[in-house]
């Protein structure tokens, strides 16, 4: 899959993401500046983590209204793949590509630590190299990752099987203690109905090398590279 990474001013995990994508695909992703509007030739558009526009006002709010986002909308509407991680997830939500909102962590503190994600379904391109109900480790690094949506939206997400990952214990139990940021129903990531747009808070791209503490995130990038 030919991948591109969208760079907004203030984004800071684009290098991590590029390393993870290149490691799996053998090909450097294209870096797309936020003022560009042409995403043609890309199969996968990635919005990485960071602090777009400083996360001032609301995380992702200003980036979501940048020129490139119309092109991201169009790409998604054409059935293209989109991955938004951390700030990227916040941007997708602010742009209305995914439902809900990401509120301040329940602890009101920035959380930088490993967490475990339970795979809710594995019949998607993103999760195809994981097993359903398997847990994997990812790096959490955010101040506003507390997923929120109203009950009707949540019921629809659950009903249509659009919850991608939930915060869990290493053994795969979804408990309040494992839900570090307070997300509603422990939701860590969600899909669009066509399962081609994924937004998630923790960083699989920071665990793709045992030297850096593990390679739990690598299957996600391997799967994207092979698709």
């Amino acid at each position: 899959m030919k991948a591109g990474i969208v760079i907004f001013p203030g984004i800071n995990r684009e290098r991590d993401m590029a390393i993870a994508l290149a490691q799996s695909s053998g090909e450097a992703p294209r870096m797309v500046w936020h003022k560009e509007t042409d995403l043609s030739g890309l199969d996968l558009v990635v919005i990485p983590g960071g602090f777009s526009f400083g996360d001032y006002l609301r995380c992702g709010a200003m980036a979501a209204r940048s020129p490139v986002m119309q092109a991201v909308h169009d790409h998604a509407a054409r059935g293209g793949y989109v991955l938004g991680v951390c700030n990227g997830f916040q941007i997708l939500v602010e742009a209305g590509l995914l439902p809900g909102a990401l509120l301040r962590n329940a602890s009101l503190r920035f959380l930088s630590m490993d967490c475990h994600l339970r795979v809710e379904r594995s019949d998607t391109v993103f999760a195809s190299r994981y097993q359903r109900n398997q847990t994997f480790r990812a790096v959490m690094a955010h101040g506003d990752g507390n997923y929120f949506a109203d009950d009707a939206t949540l019921d629809r997400l659950e009903g249509e099987g659009l919850v991608a990952f939930r915060y869990a214990t290493p053994q795969g139990e979804v408990t309040p203690e494992a839900n570090l940021n307070g997300s509603v129903r422990s939701i860590a990531g969600i899909y669009t109905p066509n399962l081609r747009v994924l937004g998630l808070m923790p960083h699989p791209e920071d665990l793709v090398d045992p030297l850096m503490g593990g390679a739990d995130g690598k299957p996600l990038f391997d799967a994207l590279a092979a698709a």
Binding site: P9, G10, N12, R13, R15, D16, I19, A20, G49, G50, F51, F53, G54, D55, Y56, S107, R109, F110, L111, S112, M113, V139, A141, G143, H203, E205, D206, V208, L211, M212, G213
Partner: protein, 730 residues
């Protein structure tokens, strides 16, 4: 509107009568208000190092791998593969007490600029923090704000915060210390310096606009401002990490071209120090047109522009034919870009504002005739060497361990580092808590750098020379313990009022000790910062020469951590005599803060360290931890807690009392976990390094030689309790 310039005003600006006399002599007339402001900040302790310069000269600064030592914005060392590490530590103590969040945040911002101004991409931040007693209600607020501020800035700019240290002591009640360190990586033949060159070349201002922030505190008494001056003149600067991030990217993008002749960040004393230093170092003159400086507020005077400490600004000298290239890059990043002057052949700084010459000062005497003081010193009386046999152990090993591992100075700092993004960049091999030094890989290479900050202020207070030596040795040891070759240090000398002989004596002695250690360990000082007058109501802080150390590993995969794997032999290297003076056991268990601190035997230090490093690089060592605060038993417990694996301890030598053996703080020691202890000890003997098998790992309990048993889980709970309970409870 401006006040009359006279000796009285000079004093309010912080210049002594003698210093003002020198100003009159240099100028040959009464200086203008703006000129006096420029003299006062350039001759301030912060910019001129007038009390410390004579002593700092004693520090060794050279080694074959040192590319730039002190004198540039940051130190630069060759780390191989054509790359250089650029690093420095800087204090933001006073601002962090007034406004902990912004004070700490802008401290991080300032040190980042010192590093990327040299052409390096920042890859790691560390911070050395000292706070007052936890019981003091103010301390909690300061800790909360400082930690949030460091995270708020560092996380946003996307530089991982990978290490640091924290101590508590009542001496910091009214004067916490916030020392921030940044490490960047540059191509070793593309280092950018600040010496201006090229008569006629444009002087360019980039970054944020200038406001009235942080203008010289001394001038607050000036009548230049109306009754609403408090509203108008905040002394606290607010950091804007988003703009800093843009500035990093824009500067690095410009640095890939050949446009820059010289560049310097605007730090303390803002436009004044950056322009004076750039022109001064280059031996040229500089003319500034203040009307061109981007302003955030209206009606600012030349004096205010020159002294403002607004954040996120840089000054550069460009090649004239590259102005457009540079402008395009800064416009792309939505940053201000303005040509505010040019270089001249006058050797003077000339400041024009609204058609008037507001300042015109010869640069050479401003630098050469800056005050330099050889202030009187008084030696710190030495404490006696305590005999551990005469200090009764009333609690036993088990309870002492449980107390020590949970006390504020030794407990886990997880609550702190969990708020710092330590993984951004994707190169962090050893995160906080994983090893004695943080290890950060260089993108795309096998090579890694190791980083640490160290100082034990209670040792420095008891014997500043031994303490200064110990701080350097501990930094060297922490780098060694991960397998890195220590290369160089940066320092942050935090002391009280230098006009008091006993404080100046502490300073001089600490430098002596540091210099000896740097010399013996081939570990030169390449950058640093001095922060004096750290005292409130006449009471100074503990002398705190914080050391930031940097080392290199050719292969990141060779780095070892401190987590103890099961079924290994744990070997103690180095000499243990049971030094109890100034130990944490003495303070926390016996309730005494006295005695001489542990001495450092530099020859032994080097021999043991070189042996440990060679063994790590040879692949025989599975885990390593240096023995520092709390002694051997605390170090073993920390290794167990890190992995969740227990250990069974051997009995200690009869000739040393148990509490002194297990909790004494003799220097130059390491614990290593190895598969074959006997073979390892034989190798140590060959190298004349004292070694003894001290434990075997395995199980889930720590079993003490006196038969006491504590589960690792209970130890971990005790270790993790303090910070969350203190900060989040009630």
């Amino acid at each position: 509107m401006a006040r009359e310039v006279n000796q009285q005003l000079a004093r309010e600006f912080g210049l002594s009568a003698e210093e003002y006399g020198r100003v009159l002599e240099i100028m040959g007339r009464t200086p203008s208000f703006t000129e006096l402001g420029i003299f006062s900040v350039m001759w301030s302790e912060h910019c001129s190092y007038k009390s410390s310069r004579v002593w700092l000269k004693q520090l060794p600064t050279k080694a074959p791998w040192v590319i730039h030592g002190p004198g540039e914005n940051a130190g630069v060392v060759d780390i191989g593969d054509g790359l250089a590490a650029v690093f420095k530590m800087e204090s933001h103590n006073h601002p962090s007490f007034i406004e902990p969040y912004q004070g700490a945040a802008t401290g991080v911002g300032g040190i980042l600029r010192d590093v990327f101004t040299m052409g390096a991409r920042p890859v790691a931040n560390l911070n050395a923090l000292r706070f007052g007693r936890p019981e003091n209600p103010r301390t909690k607020r300061v800790v909360d704000g400082v930690v949030r501020g460091i995270g708020g800035y560092g996380n946003c700019v996307g530089v991982p915060t990978v290490g640091g240290e924290i101590n508590f002591h009542r001496a910091y009640d009214g004067n916490p210390l916030v020392n921030a360190m940044t490490v960047g990586i540059a191509s070793k033949d593309r280092i950018f310096l600040s010496a201006a060159a090229g008569i006629g070349n444009p002087v360019v201002y980039v970054g944020s606009k200038t406001g009235r922030d942080g203008i010289h505190g001394a001038t607050m008494a000036s009548a230049e401002f109306g009754a609403d001056s408090e509203e108008k003149r905040p002394t606290v600067q607010v950091g804007d990490p988003f703009t800093e991030k843009l500035l990093i990217e824009a500067c690095l993008e410009l640095m890939a071209t050949d446009a820059i002749v010289a560049i310097q960040d605007m730090g303390a004393a803002g436009l004044t120090s950056s322009s004076v230093e750039m022109a001064g170092k280059g031996g040229v003159g500089i003319e500034l047109d203040i009307d061109q400086v981007p302003a955030r507020e209206t009606g600012m005077s030349a004096y205010e522009f020159m002294l403002s400490e607004s954040q996120e600004r840089m000054l550069m000298v460009l090649r004239p034919d590259r102005e457009d290239v540079a402008r395009a890059i800064f416009e792309k990043w939505d940053l201000d870009f303005a040509v505010i002057g040019h270089l001249t052949d006058t050797g003077r700084i000339t400041v024009k504002h609204q058609g008037r010459i507001e300042a015109d000062i010869p640069l050479a005497p401003l630098a050469d005739q800056a005050p330099l003081y050889h202030r009187p010193t008084a030696e710190t009386p030495k404490g006696e060497k305590l005999n551990p046999a005469r200090i009764e152990d009333r609690v036993g090993l088990t309870r002492a361990l449980q107390t020590l591992i949970a006390c504020p100075d030794l407990c886990s700092r997880r609550w702190v580092w969990d708020q710092y993004d330590s993984s951004v960049g994707g190169q962090t091999v050893k995160r906080p808590g994983a090893a004695d030094a943080a290890v950060v890989k260089l993108e795309g290479l096998k090579r890694a750098i190791a980083l640490t900050t160290d100082c034990t202020p209670r040792y420095c207070a008891a014997d500043p020379e031994a303490g200064g030596m110990q701080a350097v040795a501990e930094a060297w040891r922490n780098l060694t313990a991960v397998g890195a070759r220590p290369l160089a240090i940066t320092d942050n000398m935090n002391f009280g009022n230098p006009e008091k002989p006993e404080i100046m004596g502490q300073f001089a002695a600490a430098i002596r000790g540091m210099a000896a250690a740097c010399e013996a360990l081939d570990f030169p000082v390449v950058s640093g910062n001095v922060s004096l007058y750290n005292e409130t109501e006449g009471r100074g802080i503990l002398p705190t020469p914080a050391i930031g150390g940097l080392g290199v590993l050719e292969d990141a995969a060779q780095a070892v951590g401190l987590a103890l794997p099961p079924w290994l032999d744990l070997v103690l290297l180095g000499t243990t005599k049971g030094w109890i003076g100034q130990s944490l056991w003495l303070r926390e268990i016996a309730g005494r803060e006295d005695g001489a601190p542990p001495p450092v035997d530099l020859a032994a230090e080097r021999a043991v360290g070189d042996f440990v490093r060679n063994q790590i690089l040879a692949g025989t060592v599975r885990a390593c931890h240096d023995v520092s605060d709390g002694g051997v038993l605390v170090a073993i417990a920390e290794m167990c807690i890190a992995s969740g694996v227990g250990a069974r301890l051997a009995t200690h030598p009869r000739d040393i009392p148990g509490h002194a053996f297990w909790f004494g703080e003799d220097q130059g020691r390491y614990l290593v976990a190895v598969p074959d202890g006997a073979a390892f000890i034989r190798a140590a003997e060959v190298a004349s390094v004292p070694a003894m098998r001290i434990a075997t790992s395995g199980g889930q309990d720590l079993t003490l030689p006196d038969g006491g048993t504590i589960s690792v889980k209970a130890l971990r709970d005790a270790h993790e309790r303090f910070f969350p309970a203190w900060m989040e409870g009630g």
